[in-house]
Amino acid sequence: MQISSLLAIAPFLPASASPGSALGELVGIVEYAIAVAVIIIVFDYVFGWLERKVVAKIQKRHGPTYAGKYGILQNMADILKLLSKQHMAPANSDKPLFLATLPIMLAVTLFLVLLIPFSPTLSGSSSGFVLLVVLVLVSFMPLMIFVNGFASGNKFSAISAERSVVMLLSYEIPLVLVVATAAALAGGYSLNGIVGAQSQLWYVLLMPIGFVIFFIAMLAELERPPFDMREADSELIAGWLTDVSPPYYVLALFLDYSRMLLGSMLIAILFFGGWEGPVLPPIVWLLIKVFAIAFFIMIVRATMVRMRIDRLLRFGWLILLPLAFVNLIVTYVLLIG
Amino acid sequence: MKTERNELLNGLEGLYSKGYTYLVKIYAVDYVKTLEAVYVVRNMEEAKEERLEVELDPSDAWVPSAMRVYKAADWYEREMQEMFAITIKGRQAERLLLEKWNGSGAPLRKNFAWSEPYEKMK
């Protein structure tokens, strides 16, 4: 029996794996997964530190300074502290569901990062429909938050769960429309193809409205201010994470930054030419762009006031959706049709 | 102005119609032989204040609720009820406002029993 037929990710076999034996394929998958895992962990860690430093600078503080050079070990200390605390689930929670959702979300996010290519050679999937898979799984996240919020049996989490669905309703359709426009421009849902099509001109210049919509929707997707109504610390304490125990909170942090990586990569690939760039190797270019976008998201986080959930719904349907249609039509008329 | 507690609401309403629409404070003083409830109202336009003082018998201390005239009386009355055991008639009974204890007595009355450690301190 072929191993590839047993694996659910069969269509997304790494392009770099040797196509010969089944064992070779498996080894290729594992090698690639380890490489990407290292990238993710390093990024998450550096990003967590960078966010603290950048936000501190904006707020005229120093941020972490004590643990390690420039406080680089502070997050490690925090993680160790959180991991050393007691793990528990609230008594009136739906325990299996409550405990399962966070790991599932993390797994899905990591799987998504695996699918997205870091460079033409370092690519988790050669399929032509990666972007569709990514979109479907990205919109899976708010639903998992919904499940987690209700399973935790906390009223604040329940409100957060409701908000999660309202948010999904408000930004998902404009997001899909913009992605569809980008795919139409590139002539396919393959991320490699989209990057290749931007070798002359970045899509951010071809469809600036589309970029703005996508960026706003991504902020909402990533629970970044001003769209952090799910976590809304001044209203809902911590939203769906209110009753999460400290060791699980490490997972939540990991998830948060992994989603950040995912979102930044999507923005970089869809609008900023992905890994295209002179002199430096492709993966470096991609990471530079990812960090630049993440940096911008941090600045937005430090400066914006939280939006109200009903206003977001109105904003999504009355402003983002029409603009997304305008973007679609203008792009079709001017560039495709 | 001194007034009777039966005349209190009429007095307040009269003041209200004269432009004293702002209730500044309701407080009580324990003179041991009598209790005195004081209502301070203000005319915002002319910046003038009036005081209505009601003398009460400590063993039968009640006043009618002024919430009919001033909504602001709500918490002041509850505070007074709690601190001086002056019953407020004509409004629903509410939970304690300021205190989270199970003791008895009116803390701001002069005969309030101090707790043990303080007695020892003296």
């Binding site: 001003p226 209203e235 | 004081v38």
Partner: protein, 363 residues
């Protein structure tokens, strides 16, 4: 069908130990009821057992965001009871210190209110840093950073140090620029405007009937300010103007406080310019203990949170009864009426706009 949720007493945006019980239906809040008293220390009873001069330190802990104003309020009511005149220079110095304290308190409010609106601590940190400059000034004037106990009957414990005026002017110049920046930063932000405009509207009639006070009252279009209408010290000479807005919403309360900061900066500069020389030291302690002349006294002051009033029935040595009318207490009582049928997120915007300090409400 409504859900009842319990917010606090341990919650990020209840400013200490306030507990709110809210009935919500979906995202709409049907009724909010504040439960207070978690910080009740029985100050009114405490001072009955202490000599006059022992109590200012207790009073300062009532409003820990603006301790100087309560310090001064208590000293003022004792002065009334003892029939003591405040020395000429001390009056000017008190005005300077109180207005500086008001700026500090409003800056703190701005930061925490932005936090309640979901700002990630940025404005809070900026405001804390700016407030710290004023705290340093007050420290140089009194010797303490937070709880000053700088007022004494008839004057002050110590006069302003040499060079205070120059330092204060520098700080005020800096603050004026900063506050303008904050205003631009917030008012150019459409999300901030959306979150504050038309939210938590309190009409003029309701505001008076509910007895709200201070910036909340003035934001509802009532131009009552104790500094003007019941002028104390030298506010009459400083041509003080009460700052009012007519909308009565969260934005109006924000604007009123920002305008008050500007007005306070103007007042302090003016007072520093016109301050006469002379003696500002208050009575020696042994004279304070010799007795009060008037049986009843009351003093009313515009603290940063609103009008604070103390009614005192005086014994010769100590207060027989001290009734404190604390501004947060009345403003918080109005929360139920203001936050009716609003969104859940608005409750915190409104709560933030009331500028509550739980020590003040709980006494």
């Amino acid at each position: 069908m409504s859900t009842r949720i319990n917010i606090g007493p341990v919650h990020p945006s209840t400013h200490g130990v306030l507990r709110l019980v809210a009935d919500i239906e979906g995202d709409t809040v049907l009724r909010v009821e504040p439960h207070i008293g978690f910080l009740h220390r029985g100050v009114e009873k405490l001072v009955e057992n202490r000599m006059y001069m022992q109590s200012p330190a207790y009073m300062e802990k009532l409003d820990y965001a603006a301790p100087m104003s309560y310090d001064e309020l208590y000293v003022a009511v004792v002065e009334k009871a003892m029939g003591v005149e405040v020395k000429e220079r001390a009056q000017w110095v008190r005005v300077v210190l109180l207005e500086l304290q008001r700026i500090a308190s409003h800056l703190l409010w701005l930061g925490t209110a932005a936090n309640d609106l979901g700002q990630f601590f940025t404005l809070f940190m900026w405001c804390m840093k700016d407030r710290d400059m004023i705290l340093r000034l007050l420290e140089s004037a009194s010797g303490a950073r937070m709880f000053y106990v700088n007022m004494r009957m008839g004057g002050l414990v110590q006069d302003l140090p040499p060079g205070f005026g120059g330092g204060a002017r520098d700080v005020l110049d800096y603050l004026e620029r900063r506050v303008k920046k904050y205003e631009a930063y917030l008012e150019k932000n459409p999300v901030f405007m959306e979150r504050t405009k038309g939210v938590g509207v309190l009409g003029k009639e309701d505001a008076i009937n509910l007895g709200v006070t201070g910036p909340v009252l003035r934001a509802s279009g009532v131009g009552y300010d104790t500094r003007k209408d019941n002028a104390y010290y030298v506010y009459g000479k400083l041509s003080f103007r009460p700052q009012t807005r007519s909308e009565g919403d969260v934005f109006a309360r924000y604007r009123v406080r920002m305008m008050e900061i500007a007005e306070s900066i103007r007042l302090v500069r003016d007072a520093l310019d016109r301050m006469p020389d002379g003696d500002a030291i208050g009575m020696p302690v042994r004279l304070i203990t010799t007795g009060a002349k008037n049986r009843e006294a009351s003093a009313s002051r515009e603290t940063p949170r609103g009008e604070g009033i103390m009614y005192m029935v005086a014994d010769p040595q100590r207060p027989y009864r001290l009734a404190i009318r604390s501004p947060t207490f009345v403003n918080l009582a109005a929360l139920t009426h203001i936050a009716k049928d609003c969104r859940l997120a608005d409750v915190f915007a409104i709560l933030g706009s009331l500028d509550i300090v739980m020590g003040d409400a709980d006494k």
